[in-house]
């Protein structure tokens, strides 16, 4: 079943020319981890791995070569380093790595490093194409550990910044082991990554350090190719021109609308209190307070000593008891003008307003 599935995936991978693909050092890490922990399963699938080796070598070489071709075709000026302006990610290398391998991993230095990396990957793959040996299981475990250690370092495409990469039209994707694919599937199920359905990357045949290095170089070259394809800019001069004009016009229009909105956008303003309303309120308040005093006097046969004797006191009204029968109420308008209600001779305005009030019920 596993063999059939792997073969069918390889065919599907070859057929997919414009489909998307995704790979990263985390993916390689996942494959390495799974391989180290489950060597027995790798041994059980040696037959499957042996079948996939030929396809894998072909695709790796094709990857690397196509990467070189693609980078040569692209304008070097238009290719932007994926980490411009950011600190270089530090790659954790095992102690036994030599300087050449360190240079290969440091992809973000400059374009010369990229080209040198790809050239070395192609040369490395060609040298190993005729020399494929199956290592001992112990070597495989150590090799996997090295690969794992290499992949753990935050390379140029860590799990945080790795993005799904479209599969180039001229290259096929890498191959991962079944365990790596299972690990990727699990990560995808957990929502950590987003993989296309046709992703097949097989590292099951990489049992020696050199092969792993070659595969890693090919994978990194593949990633660089995809980055370069993504970052090929279009001519934006014309676009920038009209966008700048439109942005300026939009800002001006926004300021105009915010500071002086047109009448069509402004609804009718709500009613405002006028001086007449406020003065009328003072007069009515005095009448109402006088009614409370008169009601008190009709009930108690005397004037209240202060407004506190009343049940209802309207605010900001001053009460002056001038005799046993007379009193004055004083209030002020908003302009500071005093309005006086004299119980002996109320002003005509008080009489007019008070006469308009008719109770709706008999005495309660």
């Amino acid at each position: 079943m596993a063999r059939k599935r792997k073969k069918s995936r390889s065919k599907k991978q070859r057929k997919a020319t414009g489909a998307s693909d995704a790979t990263s050092t985390d993916a390689l890490k996942a494959g390495g981890d799974e391989a180290v922990e489950d060597t027995s399963e790798d041994q059980a699938t040696d037959e499957v791995a042996a079948v996939a080796i030929d396809d894998e070598h072909e695709t790796s070489i094709a990857d690397a070569r196509s990467a070189v071709v693609a980078m040569d075709q692209d304008d070097p000026d238009d290719v932007v380093s994926p980490r411009q302006g950011e600190s270089e990610p530090e790659i954790v290398m095992p102690d036994d790595f030599d300087d050449a391998e360190l240079d290969v991993i440091s992809l973000d230095d400059d374009e010369e490093s990229h080209e040198r990396l790809i050239a070395e990957a192609v040369a490395f793959a060609a040298a190993k194409e005729s020399d494929i040996d199956t290592p001992a299981p112990q070597d495989a475990i150590e090799g996997e550990a090295d690969l794992h250690e290499l992949a753990v370092g935050e390379g140029p495409h860590s799990s945080e910044d790795a993005a799904p990469i479209a599969r180039p039209a001229t290259t096929s994707g890498l191959s991962l082991t079944r365990d790596a694919v299972a690990a990727l599937s699990e990560m995808q199920a957990q929502g950590l990554i987003d993989l296309p359905e046709d992703l097949v990357i097989d590292l099951g045949e990489a049992t020696t350090d050199d092969e792993r290095d070659r595969l890693l170089a090919a994978a990194l070259a593949h990633v660089e190719l995809q980055e370069a394809r993504f970052r090929v800019p279009t001519d934006r001069r014309r676009t920038r021109g009209w966008k700048g004009t439109a942005a300026s016009a939009l800002v001006m229009l926004t300021m105009l609308v915010a500071l002086a909105p047109p009448a069509i956008l402004v609804p009718d303003p709500p009613a405002q209190l006028t001086e007449s309303d406020l003065t009328y309120g003072v007069v009515v308040a005095l009448i109402l307070q006088a009614q409370q005093i008169d009601a008190f006097r009709a009930r108690e046969q005397r004037l209240p000593d202060s407004l506190d004797d009343l049940g209802t006191v309207l605010p900001d009204i001053r009460y002056v008891k001038s005799s046993n029968r007379l009193y004055q109420l004083v209030a002020y308008t908003s302009d500071g003008i005093a309005v006086v209600y004299d119980s002996a001779a109320p002003a005509a305005i008080f009489e007019r307003i008070a006469e308009t009030w008719v109770t709706t019920q008999a005495g309660a």
Partner: protein, 181 residues
Amino acid sequence: MMRSIARRRGAATADIVMAVAGITLLIAAAMPTLRARSFEALVEDAATDVETLRSASEEYFSTTRAWPTPMEPGDLPPEVTTAFPGRASLSGPDYSVQWRRLEMLETQEAPDAVNRRPADADAPPDSVRADRLQVPIGIGGVVVRSASGELLAELLARYGARASFVRDSTWTLIVGVTPGG
């Protein structure tokens, strides 16, 4: 490469400016309407509270011949709680409603059988026999307190200046009185 980055950043800046300006334009264009809608909702809420309190109080008076208990601003009179289901107070987001008891004098015909003497201080004894009396009657008042003068002005415009008035930061509707001509 740097020129490419600069071109790209220039385009990105223009895009961001356009997006921000577009959003700001929409907000600026919609702000007056949104503000007016919010104010209309506030006025409706306050007017609903006032009308409900007035009708409930008048209904209570029609059955008991007494007005509800006067309360502090925002407190609901216990006699009219059924008119405000689910409400524990008469406060809105920018206003509070208060029920008050008021009094006013009403001139009535004195019954013939009653020979009321004026107060000692008002007139000499046995001088007059009142045929018209001024009787204190109870009325009510719905007071809305708000710092929004526009809200008070809207309420004054709705209920008219004959039955209500604005004094300082309060609007008072006199209940139990019909403004005449």
